[in-house]
């Protein structure tokens, strides 16, 4: 994982517990500023600046909405996901990371005012008392990779314990679960892992936990009563993809019974064409993500050929069903046509999945 080399603290965050912990953990001397550091670089970062932005940490209070509806993607079936952004950026380094095309800040940001986020969530719950929101904290930042500094997981678990009809998802590529695992919970905080075959982890997901360590951490969570979930996303095509992804499915199934897994989402590599420039600038040894045969989809993102994607999805779905038909599978950011080809059903026809796709009406803006 990337080590921080510079620490900036907003004056309003100076006395926060997080700031104290960050200083203690990193040993860095904070520079106090109410202006975003390196603001002259804001806009489209170069590859070099993007890499540097992972080494600069800015602790500040967030002033906008914390809680937003996941924008999904044009034409894809929407699974009613909401995101709670407690920071922006990631200290790991996946070659395909969508943040490369999204982040325009030259610093990693952690918001220190989680109480304001809880106040906003409480208001949302008051406005929509029956809505069963699924809220994820891993959209613009890995939910757990900086959690040893924020300890937000513990506060979130405690908050959601009081709101049992809601679901919170921690999404991660780390194995850092031990600091929250003993926190009393209500079974509505799902800890999920983005997983890929170890070959892809080694070659594309730099600084992340190994597949085995992720699955072991998931096992520890399940053993402590936390529901777990997996995201086989993005599936990446390479010559022996089938063997490797089948092996990944076997590894999941050998460690988790279907009833221990809340959902398993499957998606394939995709990114906006504008991200190619930064990919070219930041290219490491593997050129797979940049040089794969990708075509512009109807949502404006580069994707594998529709038939190839479906072949990949079907192979994973089949492998799961060879173990048990009970594993709750769904496709992430895919068209109705892909659902039909893969499952021969639309999401709202599949038991255990359809509830996720029932529309929730809120006034909350999209991300």
């Amino acid at each position: 994982m990337t080590q921080f080399e510079e620490l900036f603290v907003h004056p309003k965050s100076l006395n926060s517990e997080i700031t104290k912990r960050v200083i203690e953990h990193t040993g860095l001397t904070p520079m106090i500023t109410d202006r975003r550091p390196y603001s002259s670089l804001e806009g489209r970062l170069t590859g070099e600046e993007f890499s540097k932005s992972k080494k600069r940490l800015y602790l500040l209070p967030h002033e906008g909405h914390f809680f937003r509806k996941c924008p999904g993607t044009t034409g894809a079936a929407c699974c009613n996901y909401f995101v709670l952004n407690l920071g922006v950026h990631c200290n790991m380094n996946c070659s395909y990371c969508y943040l490369q095309g999204y982040i325009n800040s030259p610093v990693t940001q952690i918001y220190t005012n989680i109480d304001d986020a809880f106040a906003e969530l409480t208001e949302m719950i008051r406005e929509n008392p029956t809505a069963e929101f699924r809220v994820g904290t891993g959209e613009t930042i890995d939910s757990l990779s900086l959690d040893h500094l924020t300890l937000y997981s513990i506060e979130l678990i405690s908050f959601f314990a009081k709101h049992r009809h809601l679901i919170c998802e921690f999404k991660t590529k780390t194995d850092q679960v031990d600091h929250f695992i003993k926190t009393p919970h209500s079974g509505n905080v799902i800890v999920s892992w983005s997983v890929n075959p170890q070959k892809i982890v080694s070659e594309e997901e730099h600084g992340t936990a190994t597949l085995d360590n992720r699955l072991s951490a998931a096992r520890r969570c399940a053993d402590h009563g936390f529901p777990v979930a997996f995201h086989i996303d993005p599936m990446i095509y390479f010559d022996e993809w089938r063997i490797h992804y089948e092996d990944l499915v076997d590894q999941i199934c050998s460690r988790f019974k279907p009833n221990e897994v809340k959902w398993i989402s499957v998606g394939a590599l995709r990114y906006p064409p504008t991200m190619k420039h930064i990919l070219r600038q930041r290219l490491t040894e593997s050129k797979r993500v940049l040089t794969s045969e990708l075509f512009l989809g109807t949502d404006g993102k580069l994707r594998y050929d529709h038939d190839l994607r479906n072949e990949m999805f079907k192979s994973v779905v089949k492998r799961f069903s060879d173990h048990s038909s009970e594993y709750p599978l769904l496709l992430c950011m895919e068209t109705g046509a892909s659902w039909q080809t893969t499952f021969e059903q639309t999401p709202r026809q599949i038991q255990g999945v359809k509830e996720l796709f029932d529309p929730i009406v809120t006034t909350r803006p999209a991300l």
Partner: protein
């Protein structure tokens, strides 16, 4: 009402063009209007009329006693300059620019500017400097449209990252832009191109009703079957539809290699 009256001293003179300083020439695309004199700022730095011959011993100049950069900013509206022309202009003031223009000939830069390609589209050029000569020659010879140019630059950069050699694309048929782009796509997406070709061959082998043509067409991330028909009348239409339905139900025929 306030009237702004310029008090900057200016005068019209005749000078030897070789005595002027042309260092601020950013090669504007539009020629300076013929009736107007060359404009120079302090230290005889030319700010307008860069396209005038420099070997004339007597040229008419308008000399303005002002900082040349300030004059340039008054004369040229950056919003009206084409993307690469604007970069050349910005470079004069030492502003950081997003693309390395040095390797590319002015003729090529103007070729791209004539297609009004944005900087984002042109950024892959930074990775294509090794192929400069062939790239400039090929693209300019082909007279590509803006969208063809955009696609070609992107594909060529991908080919570079795929480790392909210049010769892989240099010898492609350059008879017309469409076929060249098609060949370039085949180089860039060989697996999909091959698969699409096989599907076309399969379609060609099928007994389509009279007047019906079938084509396998790539539309972004999907390959689609495009049927085109020339039907004489309702009876023929009925027959064709019935035949197409029979074909659609014939699983064995579709699966046969």
């Amino acid at each position: 009402m306030t009237h702004h009256v310029t008090t900057t001293p200016m005068k019209v003179l005749i000078k030897n063009a070789q005595d002027l300083d042309w260092a601020l020439n950013f090669h504007p695309r539009r020629p300076w209007p013929k009736p107007l004199p060359i404009v120079v700022g302090r230290n005889d730095l030319v700010v307008a009329g860069f396209d005038r011959p420099r070997d004339q011993v007597a040229v008419s100049i308008l000399q303005i006693d002002e900082e040349p950069m300030a004059l340039l900013n008054q004369l040229y509206d950056t919003n009206e300059l084409a993307p690469l022309e604007r970069l050349r202009f910005m470079k004069l003031s030492g502003a950081p620019i997003e693309l390395n223009l040095e390797p590319w000939s002015l003729e090529f830069q103007n070729y791209l500017d004539n297609r009004n390609l944005g900087l984002r589209v042109l950024q892959p050029l930074d990775h294509l400097i090794d192929w400069k000569e062939s790239l400039e020659n090929t693209l300019m010879k082909l007279r590509l449209s803006a969208s063809q140019c955009r696609e070609a630059i992107d594909i060529l950069a991908d080919l570079k990252f795929l480790g392909r050699d210049r010769t892989s694309w240099q010898d492609l048929n350059t008879e017309n832009p469409e076929s060249w782009i098609r060949s370039l796509r085949q180089l860039r997406f060989p697996k999909t191109a091959n698969q699409d070709q096989q599907r076309q061959q399969k379609l060609d082998s099928l007994p389509w009703p009279r007047g019906v043509q079938a084509k396998w067409d790539r539309q972004g991330d999907q390959g689609v079957l495009v049927l085109q028909s020339r039907i004489g009348g309702p009876d023929e239409l009925k027959k064709a539809l019935s035949r197409l339905q029979d074909m659609s139900l014939d699983k064995e025929m579709w699966e046969k290699q």
